[in-house]
Symmetry: C2
Subunit: 422 residues, 2 copies
Amino acid sequence: MEAELKGLLSDLQSLKDSLPDPSHQISVGKIQARLEHLKLGNAQRSKIKDMSAEVVDSNPYSRLMALQRMGIVDNYERIREFSVAIVGIGGVGSVAAEMLTRCGIGRLLLYDYDKVELANMNRLFFRPEQVGMTKTDAAVQTLSDINPDVVLESYTLNITTVQGFEIFMSSLKNKSFRPDKEGTGVDLVLSCVDNYEARMVVNQGCNELNQTWMESGVSENAVSGHIQLLVPGETACFACAPPLVVASGVDERTLKREGVCAASLPTTMGVVAGLLVQNTLKYLLKFGNVTPYLGYNALKDYFPTMEMKPNPQCSNAACLERQKEYILAKPARDAAARAKMEAEAFVEPECLHADNEWNISVVDDSDVQDSSASSGALPEGLVHELPSADEFQKPPASAETTATPIDDLEDLRKQLEALNAA
Amino acid sequence: MEAELKGLLSDLQSLKDSLPDPSHQISVGKIQARLEHLKLGNAQRSKIKDMSAEVVDSNPYSRLMALQRMGIVDNYERIREFSVAIVGIGGVGSVAAEMLTRCGIGRLLLYDYDKVELANMNRLFFRPEQVGMTKTDAAVQTLSDINPDVVLESYTLNITTVQGFEIFMSSLKNKSFRPDKEGTGVDLVLSCVDNYEARMVVNQGCNELNQTWMESGVSENAVSGHIQLLVPGETACFACAPPLVVASGVDERTLKREGVCAASLPTTMGVVAGLLVQNTLKYLLKFGNVTPYLGYNALKDYFPTMEMKPNPQCSNAACLERQKEYILAKPARDAAARAKMEAEAFVEPECLHADNEWNISVVDDSDVQDSSASSGALPEGLVHELPSADEFQKPPASAETTATPIDDLEDLRKQLEALNAA
């Protein structure tokens, strides 16, 4: 749009220059001015170098930086360092991309091969005027308008083709955005696809690259969905406990019938995208607990959770490799955890007030009956609506929290043997 | 935008008509054609008379009508009969409005007095180019582009002022959209405001009008939220168990500090809006269970639910009136429920096959051991990810399901006395 308006304006200028009659030139000038106004009306905001916490109406980041003052996040601005890849820019992926863009994520990599259709209009994000555009182009158009600070990379390709998969893998490995980063060039991959074949491909790629990713999905009847965290070697991969249709080797495309489509709702997809990006933020910015698996049953407002261990008989060779590495690294992990715990235990408490002219002394806790119950008490008849935020200020979820504890060397040996036998 | 482009086009035509040189006329003609193309690019889709279930890319309702084929909703197209009022078009209200618009709701009434700012860009919906517009105008612009079938009414006013409240009430009472509708002119009011004063005003209005509404909210630290169903007389109203700041009579505006703002996240607000509109759809289209109260704790992915009975000592006089009516109507409700149950019990089972040439007879259930367990069984090692949708195909939540059962006349008498004493 902007480019077209620019082109029109320069053509109007050429026209004006070529007109002999000054009154005609004035007419063209007026039209130019109004077009210029139209262009300005659609102008993007300029880029912002540093995120500011200043509370003014013109600061798009004030409500996000407030997360620091509220004690939720230690350093919100770190979000600019992170790269997130989103595979599938449909009902869930497009909303996830918009949320991350509005949060000021550093870089987004978008993968889709599909085009926008009117039939997509029952979900959020795409607009009727974008019908016919590729989803990646339409997404870049909308997202760059919303937040020009985000680096957007779009890949209009099908990752399940040989060539598509190669480009997918090399784009994940590219570290030009943050050359010092360990591992791949992205911090997280979000799978927002609508079929098992594509999920298995994301799973394959992430297992090969040892790349943590999150999976999401919505049921065909539109009233349930889920998100899942997958850490290669540590949690079950998508092939460890495959869905029946994958395990049975049936081509899922043969299950689709002419003239029949899946139902979808903007509500379910919006909730799943929200839960997915919320867990993405918790994972990247290290606050709260990242949920290993979270289901959403819309008919009952029921949200089941669970954890899944890797399968030592997994059919995916790269998964078995990652499992071996994870087990072999256990002694080192344990030693590091022990060292950290000991270091924390021996920290000398800081002396706040060296002098004590009022002779204030601390009362022994054991003397105070029920102090914990009374300190947080509310006036009679009032109750806390939700558990207070303080109750959840636990240390950020680390790799260890979702791991299965391995109790002794014998266990460890057995697990390795099982993997080697597979 | 469209009107401006039209104006420009007609001015270009006048200019062309006044130019003596044909080559200049051709230049202007080319510019006209490109402007025309720009205008078409922004053109809305035309209105659609009937919702079709046809599976074609050009049908914006195919994925919604599929809810019928999937057995989730009996009659999706009924959504066109409903009117929903949304008070507060901010981070939750705007997304709720977009979801309902994409679902093809009949009519939306939007209330807000605020303007769009860059500081709102960390939540979904509004775009930077809309900065400076009223939120109602910006919302109408976006929503009418997305779905021209929805009737949009916008009210740029503050419902907490005397005049604003009067317009609010008369707009809810206006039945011109569906003159035959019982009660008010709207089916549901969604409160998406960010302060207690406005919530108390919505509560007052809905109690006076005996209008069912849903309340929503997000915490100042952006990591928790809730939705709540309020049926006057039947469930607790907002004044039945008021928040501490309301009960204590403190003016909440005095609690706000200069240079300090609440945190907000597009994720939390998107999830709350999604849960709110999902429950709105369940309430209007009678599927699943409408949850009386649902909390969302983002740090833990914890979703508490509860039910709240009305308070016979509620400070709101209109609430006490509705409570009295609800208790007095109990015998009639009971009789109706009994009659319905009896009618269903005595339905003669339809005879599917009068002839029985193969002498097929039904095996007595008691002879079949564990038939229920085996019929839904999966191959060994596989489990259902979520409870199947069939397990939730219960009759739609009616007014009775969330009501407190009153066991005898003595109880009823006591409750009425308590209300009269208040």
